[in-house]
């Protein structure tokens, strides 16, 4: 059967035929979502390996999977926010200290000052916005490097935590605890433990809230002009400026939104940890950055996917779970394995960047 030229062109364009498929595979390969795909495959690989190795310890049960989400609602949100900041070409290392500050605010004001729980949530979110605004103003309008600005932010928040209260405060507020322990139970996928009791799998309300925030951010980054502007600014500030974008305002927006997300993540973190302490969420910022990097977002900006960070969090959590289930390894090993996986991803990213530059 003969083909007209236009038919052939159409076939090429729509990616049909062996060559077309190869081209589209190649395009996917060089595309940035491929890295996210690798992360997802890796996560599934590690998880399946865990299910097989620890078959008799219920690694594969729905409970065990939900457990990973239940213990990390804050990190999911904050890693997503971090991804956005990285896409814009910046960085925010203050998030861990901010989380500690918000936890302490919740604990101190609700327990010692009897402030209403819902009022407190609003106060914390507003504080987050103000914090983000301040950092954003320093970054965009004073042109100070984001690393230094957020380093100062980190010191400020950590110090402020100790100023609010140097003691560890546990939260007992009734409304807050109701939110913290609100479970959404699943009718299937549970298991019967050694004592013969059926364990119903459940997720906390905080996980649902985390996913809502994650999806909202994904939508904003993918389909709003603000989101696309963030990619543009991260890709090349100069070009964005020449295109007529208000680079300063966009950067200010990024840090402000991240402040809000951090406060929200801090709230979710507090729902899980239900207390305030100076040492809370130590190293959280690096976990968030690691999640973003594992999720396929390089620190160079302009590239990345907010959803990838979720899998970054999941990969990290699975590794920790692995080490815990093993039981005989020293706790130092989880960070060593994490470092090894990060090396793998970082080197992979650099190989991709190299391949792409050769192709161009």
């Amino acid at each position: 059967m003969s083909m007209t030229v236009s038919e052939q062109v159409e076939k090429e364009l729509t990616g049909q035929g062996a060559r077309g498929v190869w081209n589209s595979v190649k395009a996917k390969f060089y595309g940035n979502n491929f890295l996210v795909l690798i992360t997802i495959v890796l996560f599934i690989g590690i998880y399946v390996a865990g299910v097989i190795i620890y078959k008799n310890k219920n690694f594969g049960s729905l409970n065990s999977f939900f457990d990973m989400l239940n213990s990390n609602p804050g990190l999911i949100v904050i890693a997503a926010g971090m991804t956005m900041v990285l896409i814009s070409g910046g960085i925010d290392i203050s998030v861990g200290a901010q989380v500690a500050m918000y936890c302490m605010m919740f604990a101190f004001f609700m327990e010692r000052q009897n402030v209403n729980c819902y009022v407190m949530i609003v106060i914390v979110l507003v504080t987050g916005v103000v914090f983000g605004l301040a950092q954003g103003a320093l970054v965009s309008y004073f042109k100070i490097q984001p690393f230094i600005v957020t380093l100062a932010g980190m010191f400020f928040a950590r110090g402020m935590t100790a100023v609010i209260s140097p003691q560890t405060i546990d939260i007992t507020n009734r409304d807050f605890m109701a939110l913290a322990t609100f479970k959404i139970k699943f009718p299937f996928g549970g298991y019967t433990n050694a004592a013969g009791a059926y364990q119903t799998p459940f997720i906390y309300l905080s996980v649902v809230l985390a996913f809502i925030a994650l999806i909202a951010l994904f939508v904003v980054m993918q389909w709003t002009s603000f989101g696309r502007n963030v990619y543009a600014v991260g890709g090349s500030e100069q070009s964005a400026l020449l295109m007529g974008l208000n680079v300063k305002r966009i950067k200010l927006g990024v840090y402000t939104v991240n402040g809000l997300l951090t406060a929200f993540g801090g709230f979710l973190f507090c729902l899980f940890s239900t207390g305030g302490a100076v040492e809370k969420a130590q190293g959280f910022e690096m976990q968030a950055i690691a999640s973003a990097v594992i999720g396929g977002t390089p620190l160079t900006g302009g590239v990345g996917n907010v959803l990838g960070s979720l899998f970054g969090v999941l990969v990290q959590t699975t590794i920790t779970k692995f080490i815990n289930f093993n039981g005989t390894l020293a706790n130092g090993w989880s960070s060593i394995v994490l470092a090894a996986i990060m090396s793998f991803f970082i080197i992979l990213q650099s190989v991709f960047a190299w391949a792409r530059s050769r192709r161009n």
């Binding site: 400020f156 950590r158 402020m160 950055i289 690691a290 620190l299 130092g332 470092a339 970082i346 080197i347």
Partner: protein, 369 residues
Amino acid sequence: MNKTLRAIVSHRMFFPLACLLLVLLLNIFVTLASTGSVGPFFQITLTNGTLNGPLITILNRSSELVILAVGMTIVVSCSAGTDISVGAVMAFSGAVSIWLLGYGQLAQHDYHVVAYVVPYVVGLLAALVTGAICGAWNGFLVSKLKIQPMVATLILFTGGRGAAKVFADGQIDKVDVPSYKFLGNFIQDSTGHNIVPIPTAIFIAAGVVLVTALVLRYTALGTNIQAVGINGRASRIVGLKSGRIIFIAYVFCGVCAAVAGMIATSRIGGIDAQNCGKMLELDAILAVALGGNSLAGGKFSLAGSVIGAVTIQALTTVLYSINVSADQLPLYKALVVVIIVVLQSPELKPMIGRLRDKVKRPVAAKEVA
């Protein structure tokens, strides 16, 4: 007169020095307020063979930071990025040295090194080699694989402390041999009397600074590092091996971290893998920035970074003396950092100019009317 003044104010070292002076003045003021005279701050007494006094304490306590800042300055200058792994490398190299010094004996003595299994020098060398290897790994990632320095060093930031914990068996290992404490305290004779009245760490810090400064001054390395930092591509075209220079810088930074790690472990007489050198990488970066060095690489001043490191320690000292707790300390540090970087910001002058215009213009308009 006006010209000289302007020359002084616009000098590179003016800002860092002004900051240091300001903090020292703060120190003096606090001493004055608490004791009624400025004397105690400058007082240096010789008791039991040791020199004591606030100035000595500031210098002594800032030693690790000075050493880290020297390594960090070089890294920042040539790679336009920061090495955030130095704190973890400190812990790692300290843990390796103690692991080797008490090889196989640690668990039997409740994680105390009661006698060296290998000579102390071997332990020291092991730490330095560990630091160099860590630096080489970072350097390889940055120079060969072209990974942004912060991400590349994030790997050891995460894994280094874990490796330290594994080498320390997850315990806080102690060293009971007196000579181990010489590096972080005073050199003593066999009866426990101090031979040298000045803390050893000050000598080591001064030595590191001096050797680095001389090497940079009297070899082409100093110029090459700056050239690579200002424009890596251009310097490659004129025949500099940019990659190798960056690699050397990271190895050097790793060795500096190892030296600082040996001092830190010697100070407390053991290794606490969780807390050794914790957050010190951030202080080191801060010291570089306070020294008037751009974190975007290029020209650098070693003296500036050293002054920055001492400033941070002096600030810590004054805050401690007004009863700020260690946990609250970062808050004040943050305020100082923000003030300093805003003052250094090139955007500030035009911004003030614009504000002044805005204030002036309505007045001018009124006059016309």
